[in-house]
């Protein structure tokens, strides 16, 4: 299997001197193309930090991160923004749709920043919304939609640019159980289509759907098979 992301000795330190906090203490991780990976761990374990680094929102203090074979530590902010736009699709616990914009405009945003023309953008955004079953909701604003619809809209936004990997941070955290299951079924479909997925969660039932689960505690990934303390 082709390697998409390769992390070696990644550390992340917040603050300086006595007040510094080590969020990650030497993480090694490999994610292949088409993987469905769950990252589990208790609050404060460093799983969000790991996700931010994987998603190029944050840079590690030390260590090597190869994305598609390229070392990202050397990249400029501009190049990182471009890579986020092209290779990564984000899904957040609280959806993070722009509240005053229609669902369609929200889904178009990544394409807008990618420099795509209006007509093509619209076309692809509709297709993405159709994929998550929201084609008839395109003109609605987020506050006119249910939680499940909002999250499906966010998924449409994450996948509209055909990213190499979709990263979801507690995607069902703000949803009721039934709706959460619907979202997870949507992930299963994406996975079946060959989409690489990384889900950060503390819910074992979600992790159970992933093909592979890593556990992270105190800034370190536990060896396979070892139970997390949480």
């Amino acid at each position: 299997m082709k390697t998409l992301m390769q992390l070696e000795g990644i550390t992340k330190v917040y603050g300086e001197g006595d007040l510094s906090v080590e969020a990650l203490r030497g993480v090694n991780l490999e994610v292949g193309v088409g993987d469905y990976l769950a990252v589990m761990g208790p609050s404060g374990s460093g799983k969000s930090t790991l996700m931010h680094i994987l998603g190029l929102l944050d840079s590690p203090t030390a260590g090597s991160y190869l994305l598609d074979g390229e070392e990202v530590a050397s990249f400029s902010r501009r190049k990182l923004a471009h890579l986020r736009n092209q290779k990564i699709g984000f899904i957040f616990q609280n959806f993070n749709l722009l509240p005053k914009a229609s669902l369609l405009r929200n889904v178009e945003l990544p394409l807008l920043y990618g420099g795509m023309g209006r007509k093509e953008r619209r076309q692809l955004a509709y297709e993405a919304l159709a994929k998550v079953g929201l084609a008839d909701r395109a003109r609605h604003r987020p506050n006119e939609l249910s939680g499940g619809e909002r999250q499906r809209g966010a998924i449409a936004r994450a996948l509209v640019g055909r990213p190499a990997v979709i990263m979801a941070d507690e995607p069902t955290g703000n949803l009721d159980q039934q709706t959460g299951i619907e979202i997870l079924e949507l992930f299963d479909e994406l996975r079946a289509g060959g989409q690489t997925l990384i889900i950060v969660t503390h819910d074992p039932s979600i992790a159970a759907r992933a093909r592979e689960t890593i556990r992270i505690v105190d800034g370190l990934i536990l060896p396979n098979g070892q139970k997390a303390a949480a």
């Binding site: 931010h52 929102l57 736009n85 984000f90 920043y113």
Partner: protein, 410 residues
């Protein structure tokens, strides 16, 4: 993202926050309005002044009058040389081509009788070109002519006010007038000249033209002066073009000084006075403009403040945009264009308001309003400049936001 996309994003943002936008633009609206009103007022008053000059012979008129130096003791020989004479007019005509009209003038008070009425009036002796110089029109009859000059004819042209005073409502043309015991015939009456700077004015700056009693200068010299004197009171001149103003005036003064031996004359110069008036007017304009600029600055500060105040509310938005791949530059441009779109819209409203202000002020002053393209340009440009400079800081701050921090912000 291309500029059109940024612009569209800006408009969407404004439509989504209409209330905030209106608040933001108030300062800019008022600032632009006062700048526009200032420009409108000065443009209107300038237009009125230009009309005044145009109606009364243009901006290129100049005149020389006698102004004997007070303290100097002159010898008889010197005295004979001083004072304006008819030959001075001829010398100016012959020496330079900077003046296209030269008119000698004599002014004296004489007893004037017409029928039963008799009163002391000022008599003005002119050369015929005065009509062209002052843009006069005839109410009836004709003006004095070159032929009148050659023959020293006993003819007189009355201003409309004098004609009314001497002859009432009857047409004076062909009637006799007695000036200081000499008989003259009225050959024409000039049309009444009226001009008011404001519609409610009672002062007519052209009225002196209506009060002229004009005779040919040769006729006057023959009948009312000792032979050989040929002294005149004033020389009226018109420049050929504004470009020759300075050199012609200098040459004129130099010529008269050398002919008279001393500086015994004064010069009035319409162009010089207008130029001075313009620089004085500038001081008022600058005062008004400064007020406008200060309110524009205040408006700009309001924009910065409101953008920063709404900043926390928009932090999450910036975080999301960055997570989706917006570069710092794109966020910067988005915020900046938003600010500029807001201020330019405010500028457009301010322009309309400023025109209404101008109209109101001009109405109170009872003057007509004049609008210039400059007003539109200044309104739009100053608004855009304010948007640019006062949008810079919020835009820079937004562009530098760390996406992780911005996304976590609640």
């Amino acid at each position: 993202m291309n500029p059109a996309q940024f612009l569209r994003e800006g408009f969407v943002e404004i439509r989504e926050h209409l209330g905030r936008t209106v608040l933001q633009t108030l300062g800019v609206i008022l600032g632009v309005a006062s700048v526009v009103a200032t420009l409108g007022m000065t443009a209107s008053m300038d237009a009125r002044r230009d009309q005044y000059f145009r109606e009364s012979g243009g901006t290129l008129l100049m005149g020389v009058y006698n102004q004997p130096p007070g303290e100097l003791e002159l010898t008889a020989r010197q005295r004979a040389k001083t004072g304006l004479k008819l030959e001075d007019a001829a010398a100016i005509r012959d020496t330079f081509d900077g003046f296209d009209l030269v008119v000698a003038e004599i002014n004296r008070n004489h007893m004037v009788r017409a029928g039963a009425t008799g009163e002391s009036y000022r008599i003005t002796a002119f050369e015929p070109e005065f009509k062209e110089m002052r843009n006069l029109h005839m109410g009836s009859g004709r003006y004095i002519t070159a032929h009148d000059m050659e023959t020293a004819a006993a003819v007189v042209v009355l201003g409309s006010t004098r004609a009314r005073e001497l002859f009432g409502t009857a047409d004076p043309v062909g009637k006799a007038v007695n000036i200081d015991g000499r008989a003259y015939t009225v050959v024409g009456v000039t049309k009444e000249m009226v001009f008011y700077f404001q519609r409610s004015d009672t002062y007519n700056p052209h009225e002196w033209l209506n009060r002229l009693i004009v005779v040919p200068i040769t006729s006057y010299m023959k009948r009312h002066q000792e032979p050989g004197a040929e002294r005149i009171d004033e020389l009226n001149l018109r420049l050929r073009s504004p470009e020759v103003h300075k050199e012609s005036r200098d040459a004129l003064e130099q010529l008269l000084r050398s002919r008279h031996g001393i500086e015994d004359f004064g010069v009035w110069d319409r162009k010089e006075r207008i130029d001075q008036g313009e620089s004085e007017g500038k001081i008022y304009n600058i005062t008004f403009l400064a007020c406008g600029i200060i309110s524009l600055l205040v408006g700009g500060i309001v924009i910065t403040n409101i953008m920063l105040a709404s900043f926390t509310e928009r932090m999450r938005e910036v975080g999301v945009r960055k997570a989706l791949g917006a570069t710092g530059w794109q966020v910067f441009v988005q915020f900046l264009i938003e600010a500029i779109v807001v201020t330019v819209l405010g500028g457009a409203v301010g322009l309309a308001l400023g025109i209404v202000f101008t109209w109101g002020i001009m109405n109170v002053m009872q003057m007509d309003m004049t609008l210039t393209p400059l007003m539109v340009m200044v309104a739009v440009l100053s608004a855009a400049v304010v948007g640019f400079f006062f949008g810079l800081y919020p835009a820079v701050r937004a562009s530098r936001l760390d996406p992780v921090v911005a996304l976590r912000y609640e």
